[in-house]
């Protein structure tokens, strides 16, 4: 299967109407982000002693990590369980994870009061093995490094033997070429060791993100505050991995006017109803064992959010993807994948924000315009960087006979409207 596909850099005009809009959002976000470091958290956020964590932690960090799960789930299925047909999506998935985690760290820095101390958890005299956050911090740091190492073969493939920097930088050509050769002989050979490490590290910190909030049992609403929260976080991260890959693959195909990989994507989507089903079963089992079904049907803020999460984020996409007729269509795949993604993101927002009940409250938290601008700006920047990287590096796979035409820009441009 994979023999018929080859990853190549995409060719397209970087700036379209869409990317120009994204650029505006990105610039606004970057400006606000920089501003925050001059004026402090109080001036740009609505955070206070009642609500110490807000939009940035629940979306940029918690949802960001969950939605980057496509990286390790795809690596597991393609590289560890050797389902070779999925190799065409491992690189896009890896890039998502790499950028996802990079932006998690960038977003986190804005939220840290003493961001310049972010490296402190690495110092042995500050290690704090009791803290779930310490584990998350360490795992994310190591995993981010692993992701960059996993990306090295792609850089080597693209530039080895072709380093040709212009002008004054030409003097560096030999050095860079040497480094690429060295990387090819060392890191690239042991990629599989890093791939396994990436899966282990992901399982560890995806679950620990679910441990964080349950340290304050009296401040977290019972629908989310459960001892099995770490397991639920891990299961939902695994469940959202493939939908995230499907979502992006379809968007990329649309953006670069390629034929969507419907076969690969819909066969990947076969797993999703089972993964969502297992998650749903544990959710329901947990609610049943703790005898809190009445809380589900109070239809207050909490029960409404929980029901939206479960019905639209889990049950509906489960049904769509369980039916082959819908699973084999781009529209069905895209709708279901979007729902799963929204559902898991909502779950993280609920667990970190909505379910958080300060003991003494005189007002509700709602993110400030600055907080929203930074979050939107980070997402827009991520998309733009993603686009730039797939245009420089061989990330997206196309059929071999199409590759040459795409390189020359003479391939048949398949418009979204013609997708079946």
């Amino acid at each position: 299967m994979s023999g018929h596909e080859i990853a190549i850099p995409m060719r397209a005009k970087f700036f379209t109407t869409g990317t120009k809009v994204l650029l505006l959002i990105a610039l606004a976000g970057i400006a606000t982000y920089v501003y925050r470091f001059f004026v402090g958290l109080g001036a740009v956020t609505n955070l206070d002693n009642q609500y110490p964590w807000g939009l940035w932690i629940s979306i940029d960090v918690a949802s960001g990590v969950a939605l980057a799960a496509g990286g390790f789930t795809t690596a597991a299925i393609a590289d560890i369980f050797h389902k070779d047909k999925y190799h065409v999506i491992t690189r896009p998935a890896l890039l998502t994870a790499l950028l996802g985690y990079t932006f998690v760290v960038i977003g986190l820095l804005a939220d840290l009061g003493r961001w310049y101390n972010v490296w402190h958890p690495m110092l042995p005299n500050m290690w704090q093995g009791n803290s779930a956050l310490f584990e998350v911090g360490m795992c994310v740091m190591v995993y981010l490094t692993v992701l960059y190492i996993e990306f090295v073969p792609i850089v080597v493939e693209r530039f080895k033997g072709r380093v040709n920097l212009p002008g004054a930088l030409a003097g560096l050509n030999k050095l860079i070429e040497g480094l690429l050769n060295l990387a090819d002989k060392t890191l690239v050979r042991f990629t599989s060791l890093f791939i396994i490490a990436g899966v282990v590290l992901s399982c560890l910190h995806q679950s620990s993100l679910g441990t964080l909030m349950i340290i304050a049992p009296t401040k977290v609403h019972a629908l989310w505050g459960t001892t099995i929260s770490p397991l639920l976080f891990l299961m939902s991260a695994i469940a959202v991995g493939f939908p995230m890959v499907i979502f992006e693959s379809i968007l990329a195909s649309r953006s670069f006017k390629l034929k969507p990989e419907v076969n690969v994507l819909s066969s990947l989507a076969r797993y999703t109803p089972f993964l969502l089903g297992a998650y749903l079963a544990f959710k329901i089992g947990d609610i049943t064992i703790r005898e809190i079904w009445p809380l589900v049907f109070t239809f207050d803020k909490y029960s409404t959010m929980w029901l939206i999460e479960m019905i639209f984020g889990v049950i509906v996409p489960m049904i769509i993807l369980a039916i082959p007729k819908y699973r084999k269509k781009v529209a069905g795949l895209f709708t279901a994948a979007s729902l799963v993604i929204a559902g898991v993101a909502l779950n993280r927002i609920d667990a970190y924000l909505v379910a958080y009940k300060p003991l003494y409250v005189d007002h509700a938290y709602f993110p400030s315009i600055f907080e929203i601008t930074v979050t939107a700006g980070l997402i827009a920047t991520l998309v733009l960087v993603y686009r730039a990287i797939v245009m420089i590096f061989p990330i997206i796979s196309v059929p071999v006979d199409e590759a040459e035409k795409i390189k020359n820009g003479t391939h048949e441009k398949i418009n979204f409207a013609r997708w079946k």
């Binding site: 109080g42 939220d111 310490f134 911090g137 060791l193």
Partner: protein
């Protein structure tokens, strides 16, 4: 070759694990120190003079406000919370048994015996000292504010308006004065009618129970802080059910007793992560073998 490398990785991970878990066991529930200190707050006796607020403010150099600003009783309508510039506040509450006479209650860090903030802190910037005080080291702090999320009493405050080096601010139980200089906490020292009693926590609990016994009708029969969230260094006597005051009903469950067993279970001598690594490595090897066979037969 790859197996050897895996072993090497394993050994590297194991040796760092010993360091991590060594530290972890050291910071687990400290052995009960019979000399640990505490303060008993008797809200039946407190007159609400707010001199403790003033003394705290002056000792920790929080603001320049003169004593007179602390005599204002209208603040009692606000139900203030401790903040970056007020580590302790006095509020008022009504006991339904005697609605005519309002009572006053002093609020500050409870200095939990099993503090969630300490367990939560990613870098150990918060520490439960054997003497009792929970203290903060701004130099280590990364400013994540997980301590504020974790605190069952909503006590730590943050310097949100500080752009460069914000700190977590809360009552330190006058650690320097009490432990280093052998003095009383500033608030306790100034209290004019002995609403605050400083001493060994064990003894304070006995005193509290005997006050309840010896003054029937004066107290609700519960020493708040004796068992709440595993016990706190600061203890309260109330003239009415503590639920009528602003003391939160936090139960006796210890937050860190939920999260720490999970953390330590997952990382037990690093065996579970290494086992998962090994298992996945085996799967990778096995499935590759099967694929090769399939290709040969094709």
């Amino acid at each position: 070759m790859s197996l050897k490398r895996r072993d090497f990785l394993g050994i590297a991970a194991l040796s760092s694990a010993t360091l991590v878990t060594g530290k972890a066991t050291a910071s687990e529930a400290p052995a009960h120190n019979p000399d640990a200190l505490g303060v008993l707050v008797d809200t039946a006796v407190c007159s609400g003079c707010r001199k403790c607020e003033w003394a705290c403010n002056r000792t920790h150099e929080l603001t320049d406000r003169p004593m007179s600003t602390f005599e204002d009783k209208t603040v009692f309508e606000l139900h203030r919370r401790p903040d970056r510039d007020a580590f302790t506040v006095v509020n008022q509450f009504i006991a339904p048994e005697n609605p005519e006479k309002p009572y006053a209650i002093k609020v500050q860090c409870m200095h939990c015996l099993r503090p969630a903030c300490v367990s939560a802190c990613i870098v150990g910037a918060l520490e439960k000292t054997p003497e009792g005080p929970v203290i903060y080291d701004a130099w280590k702090c990364i400013g994540c504010r997980y301590c504020i999320v974790a605190c069952p009493f909503q006590i730590p405050a943050y310097e949100y308006d500080e752009a460069l080096a914000p700190e977590v601010k809360k009552c330190s139980f006058c650690y320097e004065r009490v432990v280093k200089e052998g003095k009383l906490p500033a608030c306790t020292e100034i209290c004019p009618n002995e609403a605050l009693t400083f001493g060994r926590r064990d003894e304070l609990i006995d005193i509290a129970h005997s006050r309840i016994k010896n003054h029937p009708g004066m107290y609700y029969d519960h020493v708040y802080g004796e068992h709440e969230v595993g016990g706190t260094s600061w203890l309260y006597l109330t003239p009415t059910d503590f639920k009528n005051t602003e003391l939160p009903d936090v139960g006796t469950e210890v937050g860190p007793d939920i999260t720490e067993p999970i953390q330590h279970g997952v990382f037990k001598a690093f065996v579970p992560p290494l086992a998962l690594y090994g298992l996945l490595g085996l799967a990778m090897h096995q499935f590759k073998g099967e694929k090769d066979k399939a290709e040969e037969t094709e």
